[in-house]
Point group: C2
Chain length 352, copies 2
């Protein structure tokens, strides 16, 4: 991807320098592996190898290597692609990562604890000049949002719930647009996305007053034909995270929106069943997103529906494609099954 | 006000202990005086005196006193009721406040810089055991919002814009309800409100992911006939702060809402005129607030309109009362001119 925009690194967070060694440590739960596996899936060419300690159950399917091997083949950054159970770095990892830092490798981490909280890693990095990048820490000195329209085009993925494929969909649209020779760039708003993009802002970690301002920085002014494909966060109808979603929606000023949905899900994720937060309908979610988006971009409109169909049958999937397509008048895809070509077609129809 | 709820101090921030000495220092701009003057207006009986240094242009109209006088009459907390120009504490203030802390007075401040950032004040407080309370700093360990309905009743003030009287209106409704012997408590979400209430959470300083959770803590479960009167923040149609407003709306789960409006204002405060953010209409603002509020409380409804009429003529004011009343079917008041009796009447009609 060629970055067509003049934007400082500070706009969208620190740049994580490829190529990478993906660090899995001795993690024993698949659920913790999102970042490392996502990085390998979407930036395979930048991942020169993986490092697994004895007992690790994960396998990214790429070359195993030691820290020394990684330096040999030109790795610049070790990406800690998993969270250890309990969030605390085990001593074996600390020793391993401190050795990498001592040898001059940068380390990027999405852990809750800062890398520099480990005196051993901090000292090693300080000696060698290696950089320690905590992707959960937002940039300092973010501005208040201005609402002023900026040049270039923007697409934002939103959802009927959290964790319904907003990141995946934005990445899949980026891939499709770049394959067609279009001027497009994925913009990451969460930790896994930031690892994949190499930069971005963890929107949900920003102080509330600055969320819209952070979103404005995340997607800076661009050339007229450039599309930023912005990873959504949370969901406007989710009782825990709607404020994050609205700040990101306003700051993104999207021209185009894509709605992501899991037809097998009944209640909003993370809410107690007795609280009664059933998933809102697609139509309702589209309506409330448009009402709010049009405050900052009167021309905002939806260009597609992205389904996560992993938990429904083939027959039900086909039925949903027809049902949603008729109901909403939008192309409907599961990006894993079908790609996002139909959504990009609609995007071009609407905006060319 | 009797607190009818079993809530720990941690729920709603640290308690600021009355009675108070209101500290104006040598401030030379009226615009910086909101907190001190608000405290005297709403909690006159708790303000035993004011402290002004030579050159101070502000006068709260209460007893002048030195730190020694304040100790003599039983003051427990010095409230820094103004922000110095540039936000940095002048050396004279530091000496004065360090002396107060040394003598055992607590100090509460709404400044951007922490009181403990001054080594002199921190050392004095540490010696005497005085507490330093920075009301802009949210409590640690706030939870994620759950959306689970809780007992008791809640009213939230919202606005067509920021700075249209949301705090004033909530305080005026508290005053009216208490005068009628009702079970009501003002809940503060901003620094001036927190000084007045003695506790609260500065919602706009909370990390985005935790805003709804903070709002849930701010207004904890209560007796069935208890009303929390929650100070709103920002505005859903303001391009800079809407996310804060939505998190607070969801976490508050309001039964009743009051909309605040300044009829003389044309553009959203803080936005550039060329950005074109005209104030939304009352009807539009009510509609979007209700749609979003009903996600967490299907019974949410508006019970009144609170106007800030300070910049319109008497004739225009009367015309607006009739116009808005007919348009919206709600009682309309300027709480400074008319009090909030008509709104409380409607509240009781709707919810008794």
């Amino acid at each position: 991807v060629t970055d067509t925009v003049t934007s400082t690194a500070a706009d969208v967070g620190e740049r994580i320098q490829p190529p990478f060694l993906v660090y899995f440590g001795d993690v024993t739960e698949l659920g913790f592996a999102k970042t490392g596996l996502g990085l390998i899936e979407w930036r395979r060419e930048q991942c020169l190898g993986q490092r697994r300690l004895p007992g690790c159950i994960l396998n990214g399917g790429i070359q195993e290597m030691s820290i020394d091997d990684a330096i040999e083949v030109g790795v610049k950054t070790v990406v800690v692609g998993v969270a250890p159970a309990g969030g605390v770095l085990p001593q074996e990892w600390i020793e391993d990562l401190a050795y990498a830092a001592k040898r001059g490798l940068n380390i990027a981490s999405g852990l809750h604890t800062r890398l520099s909280d480990s005196g051993e890693i901090a000292a090693a990095a300080s000696d060698s000049g290696a950089r320690l990048i905590d992707v959960r820490i937002p940039p300092e000195e973010l501005p208040i949002g201005t609402g002023i329209r900026r040049s270039g085009r923007r697409l934002l993925t939103v959802g009927t719930d959290c964790a319904v494929g907003k990141k995946y969909t934005a990445l899949a649209i980026e891939k499709e647009m770049i394959a067609r020779g279009l001027n497009a760039k994925f913009r990451a708003s969460g930790q896994t996305g930031i690892m994949i993009a190499g930069q971005g802002i963890p929107i949900d970690s920003v102080v509330a007053d600055f969320v819209a301002g952070a979103a404005e920085c995340l997607s800076p002014p661009a050339e007229a034909d450039h599309w930023d494909l912005i990873e959504g966060q949370g969901a406007l109808m989710h009782p825990s995270y709607a404020g994050v979603s609205l700040g990101l929606l306003h700051g993104s000023q999207p021209d185009a929106l894509v709605i992501c949905h899991d037809p097998a899900r009944q209640y909003c994720i993370g809410t107690a069943e007795e609280a009664g937060y059933e998933l809102p309908s697609l139509a309702e979610t589209i309506s409330i997103n448009l009402q709010l988006a049009r405050r900052v971009n009167p021309d905002a409109r939806f260009v597609g529906v992205s389904l996560n169909s992993s938990r429904i049958s083939e027959d039900e999937y086909k039925a949903r494609l027809i049902q949603y397509g008729e109901e909403l008048g939008l192309p409907v895809v599961d990006p894993i099954r079908d790609g996002t070509g139909a959504i990009v077609d609609r995007l071009l129809e609407e905006f060319l």
